[in-house]
């Protein structure tokens, strides 16, 4: 210990250091605020204003007009009905799934867990195409006559959201201290009663949070519903699209945007409440303490009536769900390989052509999609990362804390506001923005920006919990060891957040690859993205176009799932030892 100490107090250096810190945080708040103000708030306001400002005067007549149409009420009713049913079914199936996949170990568990996540990251258009190819007359389930029905839409929504419930509930369940349930059993409760009265209430925060997110995704579903519902069924979101693009009724679209905003705000408020209660006085433990091997035969020495039947039921339900999840995907691949002459790669070969109707080949569209998604991911990471960083702070003063809560809520809004509204708002606001003589509508940067707006909340939600979980004293320990604020940020916050960054990149990339609502407005005809091309292909008659759409869907699905899988690997423990 011959280290000498030389730390002269240097006020000037301190002052400049502090001003750098202030400058950094000011920038960290300003960049996301300006970004979302310019590319989210402004287009949305512009779009909504179109409906209510007539000749420079506020005119709310649109409300009365739109609400007097029976069609409007039918659409609102349909939206709520399918969101409610989709949520209830997702939860009912997801809870046993969480129990089997997170409370038990078995061979291949990692594979099954990864597999049930696949539908969640699949582009909505692909989900729509996959379900249709399953249900059309002539499809494997054609005899059910479900094509274009309400049931088909709800099934697709559950397919999409099952993973949301399983992941959220399972994540909490595997850390739940099993001794509370064991105490209930020792007090005379049956396995079912112990589950109902002890475990289920403990899971409620995760359940409520997952349910409100699922409701949100169901209520704003666009691509899936547009493909499956045809003209008969729809959500508010598809209706906004129909009103703007088919009927050119901007007023109706604006009113519907407001209605959707209300529905979404309600769901988000519920989700926020549930989230904030999530970590309340729950006795949590390490997963090792609660997870047991899955056994189909009753273990030796376990008396009958000791809960084995419950496990069997949950396992059976989950096995059935996994098979049902696989059905549309396998069918999609199989059908994409079927040709007039039997089997072959003809549809995939056709992806190199324009199919007679497209402006570019499908492969070119794929390349476009990847480029756009890459740009969108970078933007979303920067903006979302900064938001997460700012929102994860716990300022000392009350006013600062309130500001953080406000920012948190503000940055979540894009999660729920109609992507269609954003896309159309872009078209309106980027035509001579601020009176400047430029027309940004033709600019290729709009598509990645719009997709980044959609992806930002996903990045925030992935990174924020990790940052919030950092004990503030860890940063204090670093500071007392001589680390300046910048080094603390780098070696503590960033080092730890990097674990979740891989997943955030994956989600952001998948979200923008599959983004369809806003992109359908903004993609220029000569540079369509893959989902836009798929939608165009299924809109055309003829088995060739349909075959191409199937093949393109397989390509898009493989791309998205592959990238998410790759990114999820990024956060696995590395050999370097620097990361977890």
């Amino acid at each position: 210990m011959t280290l000498t100490l030389d730390r002269p107090d240097a006020p000037s250096a301190v002052a400049s250091g502090r001003s750098r810190v202030v400058a950094f945080w000011a920038l960290a708040v300003a960049v996301p605020l300006v970004f979302l103000g310019l590319f989210f708030a402004w287009p949305v306001v512009e779009m909504i204003a179109k409906g209510f400002v007539v000749d420079g005067r506020l005119d709310l007549g649109g409300f009365a007009d739109v609400f007097s149409r029976p069609r409007t009420w039918r659409i609102i009713g349909l939206t709520l009905a399918q969101a409610t049913l989709g949520t209830l079914l997702s939860v009912a199936l997801g809870v046993p799934g969480a129990y089997v996949l997170y409370r038990h170990t078995f061979r291949g568990r990692a594979l099954v867990r990864a597999f049930v996540t696949v539908p969640f990251v699949l582009p909505t258009v692909v989900v729509g195409v996959a379900f249709r190819s399953l249900l059309v007359s002539g499809g494997p389930l054609g005899f059910l006559h479900l094509d274009g029905t309400f049931v088909a839409i709800v099934a697709a929504l559950v397919f999409f959201n099952y993973a949301v419930v399983v992941r959220a509930v399972g994540g909490l369940w595997e850390r739940l201290d099993p001794r509370a349930e064991q105490a209930a059993r020792a007090l005379g409760a049956s396995p079912w009663r112990a589950f109902r009265t002890v475990t289920l209430p403990a899971l409620t925060p995760a359940l409520a949070s997952a349910a409100s997110l699922t409701f949100l995704y169901c209520a704003t579903a666009f691509g899936t519903v547009l493909v499956l519902g045809g003209l008969q069924f729809g959500t508010i979101e598809t209706e906004i699209w129909v009103q703007t693009t088919q009927f050119l009724d901007l007023r109706a679209a604006a009113v519907l945007s407001v209605v959707q905003l209300v529905v979404v705000a309600a769901a988000l408020t519920l989700a926020g409440r549930a989230r904030s209660r999530r970590e309340r006085a729950l006795a949590l433990t390490l997963p090792e303490a609660s997870v047991r091997p899955l056994r189909l035969r009753r273990p030796v020495g376990m008396p009958a009536g000791d809960g084995h039947a419950l496990t069997l039921v949950a396992t059976a339900v989950t096995a059935a769900v996994v098979l049902l999840l696989a059905l549309p995907l396998v069918n999609l691949v199989v059908r994409s390989l079927r040709t007039d002459a039997g089997w072959g790669l003809d549809h995939y070969t056709a992806l190199g052509t324009t199919g007679g109707a497209l402006t570019v080949t499908v492969w070119q569209a794929t390349l476009n999609s990847l480029r756009v998604a890459l740009d969108a991911t970078v933007i979303a990471l920067v903006v979302g990362g900064l938001v997460a960083l700012v929102v994860s702070r716990r300022p000392r003063r009350a006013i600062g804390r309130r500001a953080v809560v406000g920012l948190d809520a503000l940055f979540m809004l894009p999660l729920g506001v109609s992507a269609v509204t954003v896309g159309f708002g872009f078209l309106l606001s980027m035509h001579h923005p601020f009176g400047l003589p430029v027309d940004l509508r033709t600019s290729p940067v709009l598509v990645p920006i719009a997709q980044a707006v959609v992806a930002v909340p996903l990045v925030v939600r992935t990174v924020l919990p990790v940052l919030r979980a950092i004990d503030p004293r860890l940063r204090e320990a670093a500071a007392t060891l001589g680390a300046a604020p910048g080094r603390v940020l780098r070696t503590v916050d960033l080092s730890i957040a990097t674990r979740s960054l891989g997943l955030a990149i994956g989600f952001a990339f998948a979200a923008s690859l599959g983004e369809f609502g806003a992109t359908s407005f903004l993609a220029r005809p000569d540079r369509p993205t893959l989902p836009v091309v798929i939608f165009r292909l299924i809109g055309r008659p003829g088995p060739e176009s349909y075959g191409m759409a199937l093949a393109a869907s397989v390509v898009l699905a493989l791309l998205t799932a592959g990238i998410v899988a790759l990114c999820e690997r990024l956060r696995a423990p590395g050999a370097g030892g620097e990361w977890w």
Binding site: R7, G17, E476, T480, L481, A484, S495, G577
Partner: protein, 326 residues
């Protein structure tokens, strides 16, 4: 020239509540001071304020120069937390090296805390005691001019705590580190520190060397916290045999009695009624009620058997008594 840490009228507020209320204290270079007090007395807040982690009123100075306005990382004050706060994303070596210039060797520091060869271990594989040893090595690594220790042993079990307290003292002395050590355990404070500062309700009650603190507590409050359990006026009749044992004159001062001030079975100078018996490490602890004094804990020989209600003869142990000045 003032040497080391100087605190003058330090106040730390959380909202309207003053957690630390006008504390003045000197910690000369090379010495170890323990801040001893019950939980919630403000000792940890004071420590955090010195580290620069809480806004503070009053003077915090090092070698006569105020450190107000110097951010945490430039103070050169190390801080060791109760739960270590190791960086789980770094190895043991990576943790210790954190405060060192790039490339510095950490092996000597790990040797110092008895963990030689642990460099590449993951901190997740360490036991509670090993974690605290790593935390100590990490805190000592940048050779802080002052090391602040916030109940570093409290989370450990008793046997480990007692062993680590000795090792901690040795490490601090070996490195010549100036340290402030916060604890609520007086045995720990006495084992580690050169001087002990007793704190209650945000104020310092007394600062003294361990032996002086024990034999001359400044007030009844300090005495109760140290474990003195009964208080009698020196001039009361019940205090007469006790006065004799310590050779004191009758006065209005108060006599404080610690556990073991009375000994069961020694040549009796007083009588007491047994209320209960327990055993600690083989020795009997007899709760006896003595007229004019109240219920006190008397020590008995190994293997003694008494029942509640027995009247026993009590001897006196002068070392377990102190005269309070107030």
């Amino acid at each position: 020239m003032v040497n080391g840490l100087t605190l003058r009228d330090v106040v730390v507020r959380y909202g309207p509540v003053a957690a630390v209320d006008g504390v003045s204290l000197d910690v000369p270079t090379g010495s170890v001071v323990a801040l001893l007090g019950p939980s919630g007395c403000g000792k940890s807040s004071l420590l955090r304020a010195v580290a620069g982690l809480e806004p503070v009123e009053g003077v915090v100075a090092w070698d006569g120069v105020s450190v107000a306005g110097v951010p945490v990382h430039r103070r050169g004050f190390g801080l060791m937390f109760q739960d270590g706060q190791l960086f789980a994303h770094r190895t043991v070596g990576g943790n210790v090296a954190y405060g060192l210039p790039r490339g510095s060797a950490v092996s000597a520091l790990l040797e110092l805390v008895g963990l030689g060869g642990y460099e590449d271990r993951s901190v997740a594989t360490l036991s509670g005691g090993e974690r605290q040893r790593v935390a100590l090595a990490r805190a000592l690594a940048p050779a802080p001019r002052l090391l602040l220790l916030d109940e570093p042993l409290s989370a450990l079990d008793r046997a480990l705590r007692e062993r680590l307290a000795v090792d901690l003292r040795a490490a601090l002395v070996a490195t010549g580190t100036t340290a402030v050590f916060v604890t609520h355990d007086q045995d720990e404070a006495f084992a580690v520190a050169d001087r002990v500062a007793v704190m209650a309700a945000g104020k310092l009650l007394q600062v003294d060397a361990p032996a002086d603190l024990w034999s001359r507590p400044a007030s009844r409050e300090v005495a109760s916290f140290l474990g003195y359990e009964a208080f009698v006026p020196l001039d009361s009749p019940a205090a007469a045999p006790l006065r004799e044992a310590i050779g004191a004159e009758p006065s209005p001062a108060t006599l404080a009695l610690a556990e073991g001030a009375f000994v069961v079975g020694r040549s009796g100078v007083a009588k007491g009624t047994v209320r209960g018996v327990s055993s600690r490490r083989g020795r009997s602890e007899v709760r006896v009620e003595v007229d004019g004094i109240g219920v006190v804990t008397a020590l008995g020989p190994v293997g003694g058997r008494w029942s509640a209600g027995d009247v026993v003869e009590l001897g006196v142990e002068p070392d377990a008594m102190a005269v309070l000045d107030d």
